[in-house]
Assembly symmetry: C2
Homo-oligomer: 332 residues x 2
């Protein structure tokens, strides 16, 4: 069966070149996938040279910039909005963009139907930890405020995604909180904990250190704390990286020291670079929605396309619809 | 005038030895300061050898452990509770402890009166940034939920503290948020922004990277996001530290590399080690309340005592009472 992915190519950080190159590679390697590319037609044709049968080009050079007003995402005729319209019109399976996260979440929420039984979508990145193991974190910004059932629903979805992304079952999951004590945290988190503790893989409240140290495979959170966690972790690692660069440049002695550690430091940088970790899913919707990092290169975009393909071929949306339908019948 | 500081010596991480040694040094160097030490009498006498005139010992060996029930802090006869009782009975100027933060905040809130015009106390650590400059962050856990006026009041207090801690005026301050766009974040933060933007040092909403990169001198936050930020930043830096240690130990080449960078890496570690940054203030109260890090050594405890002395000698409590009294009269 021919599967379809809509790809919004426009990108404020690195331009669209990397996105187009990745699309070219993916379309060549996956003839059973149709790519609908939204972007600057001339640039696309120039880089593709010949347009293969499984690629459709929609000309739109209007990039959605971060705006003061989130309604602009719905109002302005941008490549991102058009990509969502095509997702529905073309009955495509998935969508990829590296544009503004806030707008992407708004459009995904309003333009894609939710899975039956899911109250809200969530933004779910694949996060690195310091022990060479990844974890899923959700939500990181789609929902500033939550109800306890959101966390319970999100766990079920993340649990299914974990299996297809990592090809194994989770060992443990928890709720991100400001302390592990029962009395600490949001009321919604405390209520969700009471429901989730029936699952023997649930370790209760966890703190940022547990996530960074790789102690859980899925970390549930409201979008507010999740976003602060994500950005603080990212900026701390980037900060340390630039600090290390500075001290290595200090003098001849430190330069030699840096040279001797170069291989390992590059590996470290690679591990904590978001571009190597894949795109973030917006989950809970009836399409595969993936947000690639703004600074993505060709490899990162290509990985994100493969990530969508993997989700499609594992029938994740169908599985989730069945899970929640059964959940409701069983009164779970 | 004889000034008084109550010092709860008991400590779950490193025991009380470092605290006692720091108290001894401080009492010898500051004869005009009375120290009221709450802890194990025998251990104190053993380390002091002779008890100077300006030291009073209160025997209490009952440490307050982290509990499932925060009311235990008020119910159990621990050194921390007794320290707060002495703060009031002895009319002392300040209090220091390195015990459980959650309990310390609860006791401070309930046992010490608030400055007139201040709605809630806040937990305010002095934070490191990657540019060798510190900033004040508040709140980091005393208030999970906030109203907009809390942030406005806390700014006024933090602004005064900044002057006495760093001996200069601030250049800029902002509100920690999940984005810089006006529409993002908590309603209380948005309301506070409208009031605070009348101050020309206010830079609006800031993100974790702005704090880590040292772009603001004061960062205002609800206690929930502030706590997640604090713990994520701390754990990220600790995580990188242990990761670096591991890669340096890998083989002879990396060991030599590590050796050549040793001085700089130690400096890095020192910069981001909380013990070198001083205690955290609980502000908004009519006493100087400082929480030292659980892992404090003698130098850290001694610094925390000096930090309290500095606040006392700058008459910060009197100044703040006047500021808020004037603020109210002026309808500010």
């Amino acid at each position: 069966m021919q599967r379809k992915i809509v790809f919004d190519l426009l990108n404020i950080d690195n331009g669209e070149i990397f996105a187009i190159k990745a699309a070219k590679k993916f379309s060549e390697e996956n003839p059973n996938y149709s790519l609908i590319l939204v972007g600057n037609e001339k640039t696309i044709i120039k880089l593709f040279k010949t347009i293969p049968n499984n690629v459709k080009i929609i000309n739109n050079s209007s990039i959605l910039h971060k705006t003061a007003n989130p309604r602009d995402a719905l109002r302005l005729d941008t490549s991102m909005l058009q990509a969502f319209q095509l997702l529905s019109e073309e009955n495509a399976d998935g969508i990829l963009s590296s544009g503004d996260s806030g707008s992407y979440v708004i459009l995904a929420t309003l333009k894609v139907s939710r899975i039956n039984g899911i109250s809200r979508p969530a933004f779910m990145p694949i996060m690195p930890s310091i022990v060479n193991k990844h974890f899923l974190l959700l939500d990181v910004g789609a929902n500033i405020e939550i109800k306890s059932n959101y966390l319970v629903e999100w766990f079920k979805i993340a649990n299914e995604y974990y299996k297809i992304i990592f090809n194994r079952e989770i060992n443990s999951f928890g709720i991100l909180n400001i302390g592990t004590e029962d009395y600490k945290g949001l009321e919604a988190s405390k209520e969700a904990r009471e429901t989730l503790k029936l699952n023997n893989k649930f370790v209760g409240f966890v703190e940022p250190k547990d996530l960074i140290n790789g102690n859980v495979d899925i970390a549930l959170s409201d979008g507010y704390a999740g976003n602060i966690f994500l950005k603080t972790m990212e900026s701390s690692f980037l900060g340390v990286g630039s600090y290390l660069k500075k001290i290595i440049r200090k003098n001849l002695k430190t330069k030699i020291g840096g040279l001797l550690l170069k291989k390992e430091l590059n590996q470290f940088k690679k591990t904590f670079d978001y571009r190597n970790v894949g795109g973030a899913f917006i989950i809970g919707l009836n399409k595969i929605v993936v947000k690639a990092h703004g600074g993505s290169d060709e490899i990162a975009f290509y990985s994100a396309l493969k990530q969508i393909k993997n989700a499609i071929e594992n029938n994740i949306i169908e599985k989730l619809n069945t899970t929640f339908l059964m959940g409701e019948e069983n009164g779970e």
